[in-house]
């Protein structure tokens, strides 16, 4: 055993690092041992993450109070110039640990290998044995190996490797208990494997020949061949891809609608409950209009985000996604993006933030940067309320035209993204993108538990963001919009006086509502946000936006969907956008001089602006973090703003000149 470091002596924790090739069922095995107690943590300063669990293993004589199980990223080799390989090496050296854990040399290494692909898997076992740390090898997927008549001699393998070997199946649970017990008996290998790559490969070949009764036999796998052929076919592949993705999106939008309604109702009732229990005043407004409305407006997207990750995890579990990556690679390569960009860009249609986070999986740095920079062009769900409002104003009572305009928005976002990638790959990210080489995992029935655990993790990450960054932005925005308070206007006081003198209750209420509306509009105009609107309006004047629209656009920097509620507050004096009459009053809202705000030209200009503009502070924060610097976030913001401004300007000026108003 290695000499314990000072921190190991103090710590009673027993660290077990789980290593192995991708697609060997490592995470499924980890979930079997750890149950649902695991959490996902990042390695500081990297985009790599690991699942970490605290488990009490029955380790017999060598009883330890608590073990920390760390599921490291899947790697083909410790010696590759890839961030996942580097993270694994750092963990083995004791110089890196996931957030919240101490960086120690692991006490035990659990290497998971695939019984059906022993030869290749033995190479990484050789590399790991060379670290001279207590090791246990788990030979996973023994159930599949049996079906394929592949025999692995456990005793001989253990002898060759000089450490405990357990045969198991993470899927069925076979051998998992024995594995947990063996983890306490891990020992440094008594054998030594070579250290150079040629030597390790020869050693792996020798071990393979000793332990495997079945010689390498290449068998025809006609079903897999046929499926592969269909899914990667130039025409059939594109059709099956389109069909699968349509189904995925349909399910996301259709199924998420119900929980979204419940969340909406829940936040609504919490808002009224809090509103009725806190006396009117600044705290009341902060809680109801700032905290609850702001966080509620974000959490409402949780069902879509969870469904997206859940369905993608299931799809990945079937083995299809690796095939789809090749179909997409063909389409994206001319624009300088690789097939790896597919999941990030698809996810960005729900929300750019998980999309940009998913870009971590792209191996090539330039490919990854290009993907991160174009991801926010994909129309996210936060744009949908704005699209609905504007297409409704442009084509009232004509649902087919509205649908065309809606589709055009999505297509325009994708087109702008591809154009951007093409431009950046020819300038600042010059260089050929790496050709794709991907393992195509066997077609399987996906593991429901792993998909649910991943979904839970992603959902919690999103909620954490909603509870911190988005909450802070909502409060600041509310504060800017609410202060300084304005005294009631003369006109409103007069209306209220009239209301008191009127006998008819209905008429009186109407007058009171008019007075409130006047006051709200006045307050909005005189608030700091309103004053910012006045200050920035000249910039947006060429696009056809007045002060109120400018405020709407500025408020959208917190989150795009805020535009609709901000406009409602300003023009109607009510932020209840569920009410049809409020949407109608936004559509017919007038400027201070009595002209309509949403003219035909302005609405088109706004639509172009919202498709292309970088109106989301959280996205910029995530871009800076994932791309490795604020310069990338600034580039993204600058470029998107330029594109949005010029397109909106062109649309407004062209339509105005053509006489559309």
């Amino acid at each position: 055993m290695t000499t314990p470091t000072a921190s190991q002596v103090v710590s009673t924790k027993h660290t077990i690092a789980v290593l192995g090739n991708p697609n060997v069922g490592k995470t499924t095995l980890f979930n079997r041992i750890a149950g649902i107690r695991a959490k996902t943590s990042n390695f500081p300063g990297t985009t790599q993450e690991a699942r970490v669990a605290r488990v009490n293993l029955d380790t017999g004589a060598q009883r330890t109070a608590e073990s920390v199980l760390i599921d490291l990223p899947g790697i083909y080799s410790l010696n590759l110039d890839l961030s996942e390989s580097k993270v694994c090496v750092d963990v083995l050296d004791g110089t890196a640990a996931p957030d919240g854990e101490e960086a120690n040399i692991p006490d035990v290494l659990l290497v998971v290998i695939d019984a059906t692909n022993l030869m290749r898997n033995l190479t990484i076992v050789g590399e790991i044995l060379g670290r001279r740390l207590p090791t246990v090898v788990a030979v996973n997927m023994v159930d599949v190996a049996r079906r394929r008549s592949i025999h692995v001699d456990q005793a001989k393998l253990s002898e060759c490797l000089g450490c405990p070997v357990v045969m198991c199946s993470a899927r069925t649970g076979e051998g998992v208990e024995e594995l947990a017990a063996k983890l306490g008996q891990a020992k440094v290998s008594t054998r030594s494997a070579p250290t150079d790559i040629d030597g390790i490969e020869r050693w792996a070949q020798d071990v393979y020949e000793v332990v495997s009764a079945s010689p390498i036999a290449i068998k025809e796998d006609t079903l897999t061949d046929r499926l592969d052929h269909a899914f990667t076919h130039p025409i059939l592949g594109v059709f099956s891809f389109a069909a699968i993705m349509t189904g995925l999106f349909w399910m996301i939008f259709k199924l998420a609608a119900y929980p979204m309604d419940w969340i909406d109702l829940w936040f609504g009732s919490v808002g009224s409950w809090v509103g009725s229990h806190i006396p009117p005043g600044a705290i009341h407004d902060l809680m109801v209009d700032g905290v609850i409305a702001g966080v509620g407006g974000t959490v409402i997207f949780l069902p879509q985000i969870c469904l997206l990750f859940f369905l993608l995890a299931l799809l990945e579990g079937t083995g299809y996604l690796a095939r789809a990556a090749f179909v997409i690679d063909r389409a994206l390569r001319p624009f300088g993006l690789s097939g790896h960009a597919f999941v990030p860009l698809l996810s960005s249609h729900a929300c750019a933030i998980p999309g940009i986070m998913a870009a971590r999986a792209i191996p090539d740095r330039r490919d990854r940067l290009a993907t991160i920079l174009v991801a926010p062009f994909m129309s996210c769900t936060a744009r949908i309320p704005v699209y609905i409002l504007l297409t409704g104003i442009l084509f009232p009572e004509r649902p087919l035209y509205q649908a065309y305009a809606f589709t055009m928005c999505y297509a325009m976002g994708i087109f702008a993204g591809l154009f951007t990638s093409l431009l950046f790959r020819r300038t600042i990210l010059r260089g050929k993108s790496r050709p794709m080489a991907l393992e195509l995992p066997s077609y399987r029935i996906p593991d429901l538990k792993s998909a649910l655990l991943l979904t839970f993790d992603r959902g919690m990450m999103f909620l954490k963001k909603a509870g911190t960054l988005i909450l802070a932005i909502s409060i600041v925005l509310w504060w800017l919009g609410a202060y300084p308070h304005s005294a009631p206007t003369g006109a409103a006081i007069e209306l209220r006086a009239q209301a008191e003198s009127v006998v008819d209750v209905e008429q009186s209420n109407e007058l009171l509502a008019q007075a409130d509306s006047l006051d709200t509009r006045n307050a909005a105009a005189n608030s700091m946000l309103g004053k910012l609107g006045t200050a920035f309006q000249p910039i947006f004047a060429p696009l056809g936006y007045d002060r109120q629209l400018t405020v709407g656009v500025l408020a959208s920097f917190a989150a795009r969907e805020v535009f609709v509620s901000t406009m409602a507050v300003q023009v109607a004096g009510s932020d209840d956008v569920e009410d049809d009459s409020v949407l109608a009053s936004i559509a017919n809202a007038t400027n201070d001089d009595g002209s309509r705000i949403f003219t035909y030209a302005t609405s088109w200009s706004l639509l172009f602006f919202y498709v292309l503009a970088s109106l989301c502070l959280p996205t910029l924060v995530v871009t800076a973090k994932e791309a490795g610097g604020w310069k990338w976030a600034m580039l993204q913001f600058g470029w998107m703003s330029l594109l949005a401004y010029t397109s909106a300007l062109a649309a407004y000026q062209f339509i105005s000149a053509a006489g559309g108003s």
């Binding site: 697609n23 036999a217 068998k219 050709p435 995992p441």
Partner: protein, 86 residues
Amino acid sequence: MVTTTDSKIESKAIPLTQLSRGQTGRIECTQAHPDDCSMLRAMGLRPDASVQMCRLGEPCIISLSGACRIGLAKDIASRVMVHIDE
């Protein structure tokens, strides 16, 4: 980077993309960017590994020692040199 087996070269190595569907061969070397070479080698495309062509074109799909399938962009598949099995 060029990695070569130490076994004697009996026949001329050809690019992987010249195998016909169902044909098997043994890898001699990969003539690509060093990072790609190391990656492919770690994935199992090491010298003397047995490959079978499953699908030609873009992507090219091979079965590696009958144990796993690897999809390769045509660009990189054409740089993997193999000896056809007799």
